[in-house]
């Protein structure tokens, strides 16, 4: 960083002397210190992966865990320390509890939660039952309303996020493998456009922070690549598990923009796009963040 500052400073002098137009827009991204993420002393996660061509301008993909402090990192290395696991346990109970007019639980149709292995790694994707691009949240609510005769859960509500964490855990360690075929290409393109659009009164895009400046501090926070392979994320800041769309909403709000709604088509498309930026990284949720 020091070098770059001097470099930019020096550039400033030169530029100021001549004309300052079109000065540096040099990228300031900095790779995080690379460490192994091994959970419970045995499950090794892929925290560095090569991006697919044509998806992003990243040279390398990095798990958000790498950008956190050693103390926060440690919490995710042991399931007994990871506060997100409490919610997984609650979800296990919900998994087995019959609800709604059909008197069914998740277990009635799906058996053990381990039947969900691979789901997190491939979502969002074109859903057979919904006939459109779907997130895990949408599938869960579709089961609740159509198969259980139960009320849908709030998209970012505690129950939904906990259930998502239980489903996610079944894929932990598997590489994210979200595919874009013709049926969802337009969604992906829309998500990509959103990612690079500078919104709000601060006119910042996702890429401004998470592609051009990861590894740099914005005030006290070290910017990561904004990957979603670690979601749901337990945040020490708000003491709960957070879903992907809730995080997106917070980031958009911070650009002084009018946000999109969690569960909206906009955020579903953005989720699809951001997921593909992390293809190859392990599913690491539920993660721990500050």
């Amino acid at each position: 960083m020091k070098n770059r500052v001097t470099l930019k400073g020096a550039f400033g002098v030169a530029a100021a002397a001549v004309t300052m137009a079109a000065a540096s827009t040099a990228l300031a991204e900095t790779a995080p210190p690379i460490k192994d993420l091994i959970i419970n002393g045995e499950e090794k996660m892929i925290v560095v992966a090569k991006p697919q061509p044509g998806v992003s301008n990243l040279d390398m993909e990095y798990d958000g865990w790498l950008f956190r402090s050693p103390e926060t990192q440690a919490l995710q290395m042991d399931d007994f320390e990871n506060p997100g696991m409490i919610f997984v346990e609650q979800a296990e109970e919900m998994w087995n509890t019959a609800e709604g007019s059909e008197g069914k639980s998740c277990a009635s149709c799906h058996g053990d939660p381990s039947s969900m292995k691979g789901v997190r790694a491939t979502y969002p994707k074109m859903s057979k039952s919904l006939g459109k691009l779907a997130t895990i949240e949408m599938e869960v609510n579709n089961c609740r309303t159509e198969r259980m005769g139960a009320e849908p859960w709030k998209y970012t509500g505690g129950k939904m996020v906990a259930m998502n964490a239980l489903i996610t855990l079944q894929s932990r360690g598997m590489p994210v493998d979200v595919r874009v075929d013709d049926s969802v290409r337009a969604n992906w393109e829309h998500g990509k456009e959103m990612y690079y659009t500078r919104t709000g009164q601060l006119e910042l895009s996702c890429a401004n922070c998470h592609e051009e400046n990861y590894g740099e501090r914005i005030r006290a926070d070290m910017l990561s690549q904004g990957q979603i392979n670690g979601f749901p994320a337990y945040r020490l800041k708000n003491g709960k598990l957070n879903g992907i769309h809730a995080r997106f909403k917070g980031c958009v709000r911070d650009t002084r923009a009018e946000t999109y709604k969690p569960g909206s088509q906009d955020f579903i498309d953005l989720e699809l796009y951001v997921a593909t930026r992390g293809n190859g990284l392990s599913v690491t949720g539920p993660s721990v963040r500050n």
């Binding site: 930019k8 100021a16 919104t199 006119e203 650009t255």
Partner: protein, 157 residues
């Protein structure tokens, strides 16, 4: 995208009237990366400028810039260059230009434009995430810009 267009239209249509003696955002004249004419009649106050630079709800410049002189304010960002010595590197008119609309000085920069009123894509009402009630005032007032310029001029090597 439709919605973004709409809000842009509103912003363009809406006029933001400046207090007399102030240059309105749309009337600021840029020449060779500099804005020669002060935005107000009142000279900038460096002490208030310092406050604007360090305060989250005001300029929040330290979110992206480190300033050694401001070590009393915790957590400086590192997205932009350090502002140390910036008073030597730029003239007052150049600093004013960077503050008013950095995008007119540094092509495509991430630095926000502090004295303009749009057009924006999906503008919001501060940090509420909600749509604004009407045209948005610039991020900083004309006087705050002058105050920050006066403060930056004190940052010498």
């Amino acid at each position: 995208m439709k919605r973004a267009m709409l809000s842009m239209a509103i912003l363009v249509a809406g006029t933001v009237s400046a207090t007399s003696g102030e240059i309105a955002p749309e009337d600021v004249v840029f020449k060779d990366g500099a804005v020669e004419t002060p935005l107000t009649d009142k000279p900038g106050d460096p002490a208030n400028g310092r406050k604007v630079v360090g305060t989250k709800k005001l300029g929040n410049c330290v979110a992206c810039h480190q300033v050694s002189e401001m070590s009393d304010v915790p957590f400086h960002g590192e997205i932009g260059p350090s502002l140390d010595g910036v008073g030597d590197r730029y003239t007052e008119a150049e600093l004013r230009a960077i503050l008013v609309d950095a995008k007119k000085v540094f092509d495509g920069t991430i630095m926000p434009s502090f004295y303009k009123t749009g057009p924006y894509i999906r503008p919001g009402k501060g940090f509420t995430g909600k749509a604004p009630d009407g045209p948005l005032p610039p991020l900083l007032t004309a006087q705050q810009i002058e105050d920050v310029v006066a403060y930056l001029k004190t940052l010498k090597e």
